[in-house]
């Protein structure tokens, strides 16, 4: 189990790093879907290993949500005029460097947790936290609604992975609440995006300049 958890955790982290590096929206979305699929596999593996049927259900719910429903909603948000403006952005190298630093930070912060864990999956905990921090980075450096929400979803994936590796998943009621919550957030963002296109003709958050002081 140790090898599986470490390998899948590592793949998830690399996919998060690739999201930082990629510039095209469709490429980034595909990377997010791939990461979600990897985490669903991780959940199934842990569910089988620990013999937890609830975790298998959670894995299926996670896959349905993050591999299918949410990417479709994000594609709807991204579709339609106007095209995203190709304004210059900070260099991929600088962002990657920051992300690398965050991974180191993740290992440092999670040391007490890894030390306190007796589970074979403990080695993956800092990797999962790294994914979450990179998601946070993508979120705060996002220039438009799509970038920011993608960052939030990556962050969410990281937290899901952390819960998985540290505790073999939370009680079903809580997991269900989290899934519903993420779904509603994405649907609300879809509504907001429609209104933004109408008001500002763009999804860029720089257009938000009404509220100051």
């Amino acid at each position: 189990m140790r090898e599986v958890a470490n390998l899948l955790g590592f793949v998830g982290l690399v996919l998060a790093l690739l999201v930082v590096w990629r510039q095209s929206w469709r490429g980034r979305l595909r990377l997010f879907v791939a990461q979600s699929a990897v985490l669903a596999v991780l959940a199934i593996a842990i569910g089988l290993y620990a013999n937890r049927r609830g975790l298998l259900v959670a894995a299926l719910g996670f896959a349905a949500l993050k591999v299918w429903i949410i990417p479709r909603a994000l594609t709807r948000i991204a579709a339609g005029p106007p095209a995203r403006t190709a304004s210059p952005r900070r260099s991929a190298a600088a962002s990657l460097l920051t992300a690398g630093v965050l991974v180191v930070v993740a290992f440092t912060i999670m040391r007490p947790v890894t030390a306190a864990s007796a589970l074979p999956t403990a080695g993956g905990i800092p990797l999962a936290f790294g994914m979450a921090l990179i998601g946070l980075l993508v979120c705060v450096t996002g220039r438009d609604v799509l970038g920011q929400i993608l960052g939030f979803l990556l962050f969410e994936n990281g937290v899901f992975a952390l819960a998985l590796l540290a505790t073999y998943g939370l009680p079903g009621l809580v997991e269900a609440g989290v899934f519903l919550d993420v779904l509603v957030i994405v649907l609300i963002v879809e509504g907001i995006a429609v209104q933004m296109r109408r008001e500002h003709d763009s999804l860029e958050v720089d257009r938000f300049q009404e509220l100051r002081g």
């Binding site: 947790v113 306190a116 962050f155 505790t167 939370l170 809580v174 919550d181 609300i188």
Partner: protein, 475 residues
Amino acid sequence: MMLVALLLTPVVAAGLLTIARGRTAGLAHAGASGLTLAFALGVGSDVLVGTTPSALGGLLRVDGLSAWMLALVALVGGLAAIEAPRYAPLGARHRFYPLLHLFVFTMLLAVATDDLGVMWVAIEGTTLASVFLVNFERTRASLEAAYKYLLLCSVGIALAFLGTVLVYFADASKGGQAAEALRWSQLLPLAGELDARVLELAFAFLLVGYGTKAGLVPMHTWLPDAHSEAPPPVSALMSGVLLSVGLYAVVRLRALVDASAGPPASERMLLGLGLLSMAAAAAFLWRSRNYKRMLAYSSIEHVGLVCLGLGFGGPWGVGGALLHIANHALAKSVLFLLAGRIRAAYGSAEIADVQGLLATRPVTGRLFLAAMLALMGVPPFGLFVSEVMIFGAGFQQGFVVLPALGLGLLVIAFAGLLRALHGMLYGSAATAHAADGGAWLAPVVAALVALVVTGLAWPPGLAAALGAMATLVGH
């Protein structure tokens, strides 16, 4: 039984109100608000006689602290409900009313559940239920406010989820029962055996996460926007009780961390963020040009003050902080409702555009003055007493510099508020005099009277209740 009814009422009402129209909708809205308040007070009185109502296999459990918060949410919910018809146009009530009741439901659930996971889901639910209410007027500004609110609070609350995972981890690795490992009442007696370093780390995430909902600086940036753009009844709920629900979560979780790692860790974090919030708010109170934003920044100041009280600790610090939460909830919700009236009269939320309020709207103006004085902590209002308790606790616990700094910031904020208030109340009015007053003012007056009661003559049992709540969370 009554507890389940309390939580079912707003949910059922929300469902009915999506289909009801016209007078039926008005009646259902009023009936549901009244019932919610009655059930909340009923549950509260059960707790007062010494029982701990619980339901759904212990998933819902109301101790003294929960009852205090339930009553507060229901009271401010009632105030907001009375004013709601003014701000929801007839054609939009089937959107406004259901969301308002759902918003109240999520807050009630957050404070009535014993399960930290369900509490997290409920607090995130408060954001989802209220984001459309913030954007209810669908202007550019309200859209911006709603988006910032949704994104920042979702990220913040996800950090709180990370903290919750770590609490669960700490418990599960000590062999806690999976389904009930997040029950606060079961965690607390065991907390001493949990890994202190993990819980400290968890608390850092939880404080930042729930602190975002509570409006602590530097996670506050969504707050002035959302509170000023939302319709007044929603602002009243957000500033009055939503922030308090975030603080409530911090109070509960802090008890666990203190039992495991000892108070110093949480104390440092609370005092630091509390003082920072007060400082930032005091600065912004001096430069705010919009009175709704001014009220929002004042909420940040008071949230900081409550954190200071929690940080000082002891029965006075924690009791004072909890009393301050209630006092602030009443004063601030009344002020947002009055601000809505003022905005309707003057057609502007800019401080510079509102002059001669006492002359043009004598009743509204006087009440606004009274509520502002209450907010500033002037006696005989309750905020004065809770502020004395908080700073008294600080000096009593041997702090000198921190309470002194806090008092200094309070004076700066006081002066900032007074300056704005003076400009609004006096001067030559551009708006004609109009008769105001009427039955709608009765609850506003009642809230102000309640504030005088908490300031001058505590009802029997209040001191004991505050002490019991402080004991409950380990002080």
